[in-house]
């Protein structure tokens, strides 16, 4: 009898475990913001619409890799936060479902695709961060120009993300190429490479590594800097005199979704002034102007870039990158 009882219990648990929990309105999303910013956005959507967004953290590059690999059978219904290369690619390859949202009316053209294939719900940039304590101990001051990073005294003390896996680093690369031109740009990256300790997988990772004092300087995404400062990390940040680049965080409804209505509701909520205010509080530059927590009233100087061209050149530049920096083991 006992054995039968146990067997029944095991079978019952097995069935429950396999079936999982069917709940209220749910949607599966690829989200490429930092984990805590993903969580903030998920909570906002839940509070405003009641929709539960299931997501797991991936960097822009990883989402791009995943969507490319899965096409045309996606395992998610929507992307909430990917870089321009993927958003443009999705429109071009028919991976995106067009939807013209009324709630986005009036937003500037950098934020909305006229045909509604993609929506850019905030821009982010990259900045230079330093560890106050380590810099003070070494007697160094924060570099004023990007060129200052080439000084041999920084050898092994700089970290930056890898453009092969991080959208932020892709942005850094096309920004430097736009700033210096192709030839001088690649020479700058090659010289910088001599001082880089290693390339991280995610665009935010240098903020933490520098914050904990493992390295003195980091080229990093600006999206977490404010949060890390508030957390108490001894960080100092700056935008060097030449300026910085920018890229959007895009939302795209993926073709084949069975939850189109839910996805549309999410697109709508992303266009509201309340959502812009939330993102600006984190430190993003938003479609609806709102006071920015990181930059304050004056936005940093931007280097002029063509996002479309940057997206198109990205695969070619990845090949050049591998040729240059992934042949020799140093």
């Amino acid at each position: 009898m006992k054995k039968k009882l146990i067997a029944t219990i095991v079978v019952a648990i097995f069935a429950v475990a396999l079936a999982g929990s069917a709940m209220a309105e749910e949607i599966n999303a690829y989200m490429g913001l930092s984990p805590e910013n993903n969580a903030t956005v998920v909570k906002f959507i839940k509070d405003k619409t009641g929709i539960t967004v299931n997501q797991n953290f991936q960097s822009f590059g990883e989402i791009q890799a995943k969507v490319k690999a899965e096409a045309p059978n996606f395992n998610a219904d929507i992307i909430v936060g990917c870089g321009s290369p993927l958003a443009f690619m999705a429109k071009k390859n028919g991976w995106a479902v067009p939807y013209v949202s009324i709630s986005w009316k009036g937003a500037a053209e950098v934020f909305v695709d006229p045909q509604g294939y993609w929506y850019n719900f905030s821009n982010f940039s990259f900045v230079l961060v330093g560890n106050k304590d380590r810099l003070a101990k070494a007697g160094y001051s924060m570099p004023k120009s990007w060129k200052d990073l080439l000084d041999p005294k920084w050898k092994g003390e700089i970290v930056m993300p890898s453009p092969l896996s991080s959208g932020t680093a892709n942005q850094m690369r096309f920004t430097f190429l736009a700033l210096y031109g192709d030839d001088a740009g690649w020479k700058f990256l090659a010289d910088l490479d001599k001082n880089i300790h290693h390339y991280t997988r995610s665009g935010n990772a240098p903020t933490d590594l520098v914050g904990r004092g493992e390295f003195m300087l980091g080229l990093t995404s600006d999206e977490n800097v404010k949060k890390r400062l508030d957390d108490g990390y001894p960080l100092i940040w700056t935008v060097p005199q030449e300026g910085t680049g920018y890229d959007g965080t895009f939302a795209v409804i993926l073709n084949g979704t069975k939850k189109l209505d839910t996805a549309k509701k999410i697109i709508d909520i992303l266009g509201t002034p309340e959502f812009s205010a939330l993102m600006a509080q984190i430190g993003y530059v938003t479609p609806r102007p709102a006071p920015n927590k990181l930059y304050g009233k004056t936005l940093p100087k931007y280097i002029k870039i063509d996002l479309g061209k940057a997206a198109e050149d990205s695969p070619k530049n990845n090949d050049i990158w591998k040729q240059k920096f992934r042949t020799e083991f140093k």
């Binding site: 890799a65 995943k66 490319k68 896996s165 997988r201 995610s202 493992e214 108490g232």
Partner: protein, 564 residues
Amino acid sequence: MATAELSVKLQASSGSKVKDFLNANMVNILAALLFLLLAFFLLYPIVAVLIKSLRGPSGFTLQYYQNFFSKNYYYQSLINTLLLGAINTVVCLVIGFCLAYMTTRGPWILRKPLKIISLVPLIAPPYLFALSLIILFGRNGLVTRALDLHWELYGFGGVVISQTLAFIPLAYMMIESTLMSLNPNLEESAYDLGATEATILRTITIPLLAPGLLKAALLIFVMTIAEFGNAAILGGRTPFLAPDTYTMITGESDFYMGSVLSVILIAPCILIFFIHNYLLEGKKFTTIGGKPVASEPRKITPLIKVPFVIITTVAAGAILICFAVVFAASFYKILGVTHNFVLSNYLDFTSNRAIYNSIRVSFVAAVIGAIIGVLLAYVIVRGQFFGRTFIEMISLSGFALPGTVLGIGYLLAFSAPPLKLTGGIMILALNCVFRFLAVGVEAGISKLHQIHIEIEEASADLGASFLTTFYKIVLPIMFPAFIAGFIYTFMTAIVSLSAVVFLVSPGFDLAAVIIFDKAVYGEIGIASATTMKLVLIVMICMLILNFISNKTKLGSSMKKSAAV
């Protein structure tokens, strides 16, 4: 199969004949079904990886292999990986042996605490050691700052240290279980006859342990080179095959080069698997099989005692400190930067769903895995069909398959219709089932060897059908093997990262993957707290399991087969 169906049709007129036929051929039918499962879920994904590595966008090509062997960056990763595997295996074996020797032969007072210290990290993800090492010995680590040291943790050395610490528990567990089942009478007689401790070790203990040591070595080597967490966190610019494969697949979507790296990673594993099988031919010692007996502590000569005590203390101390650091980190906002005590890491519930998923996946995998394991063991031992040894080899090959390769294989094989399994819970569970099948199969085989087929024949002669015999006689005997397979699959599935990291999707995230992401990302507090929650839940699960098996009076036999 086809002939089976045909014969069934022909004899459909007579119900009893069908029954006879089924009774006579059930083993073969079962074997065919199991073989199909193995072929589909174990062989096919690996073949898919191999094909991907050889087929570029325009047909068959060796270009990617040429790339690998002509570029220093790539082939250096192979050299690094093999070197890491070799160093790790040797060091882990030595330390594992010393620990196991002390807990089975050493003074009573040390046995329990040492055992607990050596086993606890098993239920934590292996890359936690990388985290502790950064907090303590990183460039701005607590110890580094306190002593004003200048060393470089990031690189080959750091990876070796963290990886060794991570795999000591596994080495210990495997060696301890063989030491336990080794009848101490031989050693004691030698001692009574005046042999020194060193002589006993050299001429009795180690030779008798050889098969167990060899198997531990194989398993540690394979797991070390496939586990990429520590190398990804501490490697810096030093390339290793497993983390590079991971970056190439998930980060860069370069499936061709990723597959090449996988094939190259799998080659040494398969080679070692065959060497291991060859060396073990006819080397089964009969001392195994006796009831585990605790050995009385003997007087150990200082010549042996001193190095053993030093190694054990250092190893146990290092494990304890690393674990303590993770535990402490879970209560600080940022350990090593700001020192204020918080509980917010535990109150962060974003990871709860992932923990829940992990338990679901591990449970489903453990049930399916244990059932398939027992059935496989049965057909391997009792079946008399062509290809029996082949099936045995495939089902035991899980030991030698690096997780990354099977993860990528599943991604390649099951991501497009009509075989689309990705994006759900089932692909995660199935992956764990077939990766960890070997333990259940092996436990089942050794159980079945203990009973003679006569009992089953007697049952059949008395008129019982195949199913009745199986249910009434075979199953009760195999139950401990079932439990062993269940526990092993459950425990390893819940902390394993290397394969499932390729297969998680939104809504089906797993705790091990979340912890890794948080750790890489720098959220050490939350990563530590999530680990602690996971450890606690796994412990509760084990206690419940232990309780159930004790209730069904299977406690002692379960422990024995869990040690197989």
